[in-house]
Every structure is written in C-alpha cells, then in structure tokens.
C-alpha cells in the first residue's frame, strides 16, 4: 500500500513538474548594446536583470555564459560580419525559447533603456519595455518589474493575436547631414520606436537588431536620395511586409522626426508622417505616438485602389490632386480609409468623376471607360461663328463646355466664347465672366495668357482702365514670352500715348 502511495506521489510530483515546465518560459539575457560606449553599464544591465529574474518561477533562466557561442555570433551579426539569418532556428539547441536584448542610451541627461524579449527562432518581439529614467538603476528596476509580470500565457496570446497581420520591421533612420547637429538621436530613437511598435501595435514587429543588420553590407551611401538597394526584396523574403524608414532633423530650436512606411511587396510608400518637438526628452513619447499611427495606418486606415481606364494613359486625380497616369494600363495608389473623389481625364475624352469608398487592407478596383468627346457642338459652334451667327455659336460653345467639364477642349471653347462676346456681341460683362471662368480652370500657360489678355480687353471695353492696366501688367510680368503679351504691349502703348 505504502509503495502504491509513494508511486502515486512520485507520479504526481513528476506530472506537476512537467506541467510547471510547460508553463515556464526559457529565457536568456544577451549583453545590452550601449550607445554610450560604457561597457560597465552593459554588464550591469545584464547582471541586474539576471539577478532579479533568477527567482522567478515562471521563467527558466539560462545564464549568458551557457549560450556564449550564440552571443558571440550575435555580436558578429551586429558588426555586419555574419549573416543575420544564421541566428534563426537555434532555440532547441540552446534550450531557450526567448532571448532578451536591450540597449542603453542617453538623451539630455536621461537614460533611455529598451529591453525586448524576442522569439529565438523567428526574431519576432513578444514583449518590449521602453523606459526613460533619471538614473540607470531605476530604469533597470522598472524593466525587471515589468518582466516579472510576464508569463507564457500572455506571450502565447500576443503571438496568437498578431498572427496573419502585416509585419513591420524598422530599417533605418538617418541623421540629416547638411548641417550636422551637435546631438544625434537616430540610433536611440530607432530603439525607442522598435519597443513602441512591439508594445503599442497588434502587428508583429521583427527585432531591430535583426532587421537593421539585414543590409549591413559595405554599400555606398547616396545623398539626397535613398540608394537603389535590395532592401524591400530582402525584407520581403524574411516575411516582413512593411519597412519603416525615416530621418531626424535637428534645428536650433526644434527637432523634426520624419517617417515612412514602405510596403516591401509593392515597394510603394504607404504612409508618410512628420512630428516636431522642442524638447529631445519628448522623443520617447514621439516614438509611442508614431507607433500608434503606424498601427492605425496598417490596420485601420490604408486601402489600395487599382484604376484601369480605356483609353490607357489617362490622368487620374484623387481629391483634386494629381495621382498619376494609367500609362502602364492601370494605376495603383494607396489611399486613406473613407470616401474619395476620383477623376479621370484624357485628351479627346470627357472627364469622368466618381466617388468611391475605401476600406482598410482591401484593394478596390475601378474600371473607367471614358467617353469620347463628341465634337458635334464644337463643330456646329465653329460653323455658326464662320457664318457670323454669333448668338448661336455662343449657345453651342456653352453646350460643349457643359458637356465636357474641366478639360483642355472646354478651355478652348471658353476662350472662343469669350472672344465672340468681347469682339462681336459686345457683351463685355459676360465676356469678363467667361474669361474669369477660363482662368479659374487653371489651364496650360499658353491659354492662361490668352485668358488674361481677353480679361484685360473686357475691362478696357467696360471702361475700367485701372483693372485693365493691372491685368496687362500681370500678363507682361508673368507670361512675357506669350503671343498675348506681345499684343498686350501694343495696348499699353496706347495707354501711355493718352
């Protein structure tokens, strides 16, 4: 009987140990990086955290010495000597699931400490802590306190929640070189943003110490433009769907942080943003703020639009802003969530405008078939004009403008109409209105110059010499090489003669 009880106790104990082990996480702490060139601080960080976590029952802590070869390899990767990919998939051999990596920085006398727990097999961050502290010890204690709350469940839940979501990885932030500032913030800011992204977003974030070295080959540095590199391709191969890049510009009285989200698949810029701060200690808050914006952009805001047109090579305007042409059969653009106005224009075709609603993370396709402009009204107007039937000609030009909307062809009709009203029908007021409408369409420079000339003549005919003179002066000053300007000079001479 005793034997049975003893056996039962042993089995129960073994079972409990097994369950307990299943609930624990196997972790090791890598030496912290250090932007202060103070090796002692790095050692202190590792030793303080190791000490603090050694009694944690939810963790099995492997001392850094036990994975020394791996740490050496990590250091070589950090120096660009080894390929980062050799760090992946070593979990079982090392008997750890997660590695704690971190960085110690300092901005304006405040310690900026970042520690992140990464999945040893994928380098996805599963937990991150970014701390700003007045003393180094306080910062590390804060991180240790956060770490003590970690458990396997919370990590599993986090990894489950982030499955199949767009992945983000920070690539680089560049300092602004034109006027080198005294203080440089990029390296520390990248650490802050990596922690913030992992903390504030539901998107999987790949560890910066891994991503920033993916391209650390001896490559030349262009200025004023980002190098043609294989960055997008390399990130895409690693399963990182979005690359975060940016720069920090330091002015005497403010700091500007600019950032971009680049989709590594389509190699298109999804989002750009910019934030100004006065105080460099606010950069931690800025990193959290930007992380939220990136999360929002990736999950709630951005939708894709593909526009196909017949004919091809139409100009596409979105919310009155030129978005590109459908030269390569279609145009792909990234849009913010909501309703947008899309206009397609092509020479010889009626402008087409529609409104469309965009949902985040979806691609909407619009097929536009532009209708060829029937030049019937225009031809009729020309015939009436040549026959001296000016009322009828104006009527036809008006019909043509109404039908064609804001197109180059409509601008030609407006110009002809104004000309008839001014010179033949002597309806100067209406001529003035027509030329003003023409100018408000902001046509090409040549027609615009003709529009100003027509407007000046209308004013003159109405007896408004002041307005006529100022319009002509404007025309001569800003469109001096146009035919209209040459004719306008003659009018100015008559002013001067009088």
């Amino acid at each position: 009987m005793k034997k049975i009880i003893l056996t039962a106790i042993i089995i129960t104990a073994l079972f409990s140990i097994l369950i307990a082990q299943e609930d624990t996480i196997r972790v090791s702490i890598a030496p912290f990086d250090n932007t202060l060139a103070d090796q002692q601080l790095s050692l202190s960080a590792t030793s303080m955290l190791t000490q603090s976590l050694s009694n944690n029952t939810k963790m099995v802590l492997r001392k850094p010495e036990a994975i020394q070869n791996y740490i050496n390899l990590l250091e070589k990767v950090q120096l660009g000597i080894e390929d980062p990919n050799i760090l992946k998939g070593k979990g079982n051999a090392l008997q750890i699931d997660y590695l704690m990596v971190g960085t110690i920085g300092k901005i304006a006398d405040r310690y900026e400490l970042d520690a992140r727990l990464v999945d040893i097999n994928t380098w996805q961050i599963v937990s991150a802590y970014g701390v700003q502290a007045s003393s180094f010890n306080t910062g590390i204690e804060n991180i240790a306190a956060n770490l003590s709350l970690l458990n396997k469940n919370s990590i599993t839940q986090y990894q489950e929640a982030s499955k199949e979501k767009p992945t983000a990885g920070i690539h680089e932030f560049r300092e602004y070189y034109e006027n080198p500032p005294n203080a440089l913030y990029c390296a520390t800011f990248m650490e802050m943003l990596t922690s913030a992204l992992a903390n504030k977003t539901t998107n999987p974030t790949i560890e910066n110490k891994f991503t920033s070295r993916l391209l650390e080959e001896k490559s030349f540095e262009m200025t004023g433009i980002i190098e043609n590199s294989k960055a997008d391709h390399i990130f895409a191969i690693q399963g990182i769907t979005n690359r975060i890049i940016g720069d920090i510009r330091v002015f005497p009285d403010l700091i500007t942080v600019n950032y971009k989200i680049v989709n590594t698949g389509s190699q298109s810029i999804l989002f750009t943003g910019s934030i100004d701060v006065v105080n460099p200690t606010a950069l931690r808050a800025v990193s959290l703020h930007i992380a939220k914006i990136i999360d929002d952009a990736l999950n709630n805001k951005i939708g894709n639009l593909t526009i196909n047109t017949t004919p091809v090579d139409a100009e596409i305007y979105i919310d009155d802003t030129f978005a590109g042409t459908t030269k390569n059969k279609s145009l792909m653009v990234v849009l913010q969530r909501g309703t947008h106005t899309i206009t397609a224009k092509a020479e010889g075709f009626k402008a087409f405008t529609c409104q469309s609603n965009f949902e985040p993370r979806k691609t909407t396709e619009i097929i536009i078939k532009l209708e060829r402009i029937t030049e019937r009204y225009l031809q009729e107007a020309f015939v009436f004009e040549s026959q001296g039937k000016f009322d009828r000609a104006v009527e036809k030009y008006e019909q043509f403008v109404k039908e064609t909307g804001n197109t180059q062809e409509a601008n030609v009709a407006l110009y002809r109409m104004g000309h008839i009203l001014l010179n033949n029908l002597k309806d100067y007021n209406k001529a003035k209105d027509v030329f003003t409408s023409l100018l408000n369409n902001y046509p090409e420079a040549f027609i615009r110059a003709e529009g100003y000339f027509g407007l000046a003549q209308s004013y003159l005919a109405m007896g408004n010499k002041e307005q006529a003179k100022s319009t002509i002066n404007y025309l001569l000053e800003y469109y001096p090489e146009s035919n209209a300007a040459i004719e306008a000079k003659a009018i100015i001479k008559t002013f001067e003669a009088k």
Partner: protein
C-alpha cells in the same frame, strides 16, 4: 519581504504606466510649442499671408516659400501639397516645379518627378538643384548614364554641389570607373570637409574596389572623426580592425 518589494515595484510600474498614458498629451504640448517657434513660426506666417494674397502670382510665390521650408524640414506631405499649389497658381515658376519634382522623388513617383524636373529645367536651364534632383530620379529608374550626365551638369553649374559629387562618384564606381569615383569623392571632401558620407564611401571604394587597405583604414578613421556619433560606429570600427588598423 520579497512580496513587499514586488508590490512596491508594481506600484511604481503602475505610476510609470500612468505617466506613459500621457504620451499624446506630451506630443500635443510639444507640437504646439514647436508650432510657435523658428521655422514653424515662419511657415504659419506664410500660411496666413496665403489666405490674403491678392493674386495668383502672390499665391504661387507664398506657396512656393512654404514648400521650400517644408522641404528643409523633410515634411514630404506638406512639401508636396504646397509645391503643387504653387504650380497650379503659376505654372512658370521653375522653383515650384523643382520642389514638386523633389516631392515626387520623396514619394517614390519617379516618372512624375522626371516630368516636373524637366519642366523646371526648361524654364531655367542653369538651375543646378533641378539637374541634381533629376539625376536622382534617373538613378532611381536605373538609368545610370543619364543620371551621371545630369549630376555632371549640376556640378558644372554649381561647383560647390558636394552632394552631386558624391552621387556621381558612386555611379562611376558602379560602372567601374574607379579613378573618376575617387576624384569626385575627394572633390566633395575638398568642398565640404565635414561631409561624412564621402569619407565612408572613399573607404569602401579603397577597400572593395581599389584594394588599397591603408587608404581604406585612413578614410574609415576620418569618417568616424567627421561623424563622432555615427550610428554605424561599431560596424565601421570592426571594418578597421579586420583591415588591421588601430583605433
């Protein structure tokens, strides 16, 4: 005792978290403060002027000035918005066309950039920055021979354009004209001795192309001196060590 310490730490953590929740407030406060000073003060003044501009030309000039300041800050969205407005109000301003082209480059729309920059050059053929920016667009389109041409025009028009010298040197290196690459990088340093990228690029050129270890070590070292807080300091130091140089 341990429990008490843990509780204290968690209270401290909660306090820290509450402080962190204020990050939006901190950013708002900072942005508001930043809006009232320096370059932003100037931008806001111009935006106010824009609403009162008497004609299209004034509107164009004011929009152009805003775009220029936004370009200096690197705010691509605003630079694009205001340069586009400037071009709409006055199509004959070469600077607005140039800024619009530069915005397109920043947004990755290189074909549109080329179109605008060519317009800018047509309006003012001796405007060196437009040639430099066009060189950048052509480079992104992998048209290296044309990009080199544009960079060279830019340098001829403005012999102090060290960024163009750097870029043309790198394209020469790509096309195996190493002597020319070396010459232009050294020229860039001569024009602007604190221009750090040229030192690093020269180091890479000496090490990887010209196989001149000593010069490579020299220029990597000079790079670290020119950029004391270089984010890649550790990496470059390791390059020097591998080449047998001393730090």
């Amino acid at each position: 005792m341990k429990k008490i310490i843990l509780l204290l730490l968690i209270s401290f953590l909660t306090f820290s978290c509450n402080k962190k929740q204020d990050e939006s407030a901190i950013v708002n406060q900072e942005t508001n403060a930043a809006n009232r000073i320096g370059i932003n003060k100037e931008i806001n003044k111009l935006k106010e002027q824009l609403t009162k501009a008497p004609n299209d030309f004034e509107r164009a000039v004011t929009s152009n000035k805003i775009a220029e300041l936004e370009a200096l800050k690197g705010n691509v969205t605003s630079m694009f918005e205001y340069s586009q407005k400037a071009v709409k109000y006055q199509p004959n301003l070469y600077k607005s066309r140039y800024l619009l082209g530069k915005s397109y480059n920043e947004l990755g729309r290189y074909q549109d950039a080329i179109k605008e920059l060519e317009e800018s050059i047509q309006l003012k053929s001796d405007f060196a920055p437009a040639h430099f920016e066009l060189g950048n667009s052509l480079y992104k389109m992998y048209n290296y021979p044309k990009a080199i041409e544009e960079y060279l025009v830019a340098i001829k028009l403005d012999p102090t354009l060290y960024m163009a010298m750097n870029n043309v040197a790198l394209l020469y290196a790509e096309t195996r004209k190493h002597a020319e690459a070396e010459q232009f990088l050294k020229k860039a340093i001569e024009v602007k001795p604190d221009f750090a990228p040229a030192y690093k690029n020269l180091g890479i050129l000496y090490e990887t192309r010209l196989k001149n270890k000593q010069s490579a070590i020299e220029y990597y070292t000079r790079y670290l001196k020119a950029r004391p807080n270089a984010p890649d300091r550790k990496v470059v130091e390791s390059w020097i060590r591998v080449l047998g140089g001393a730090l």
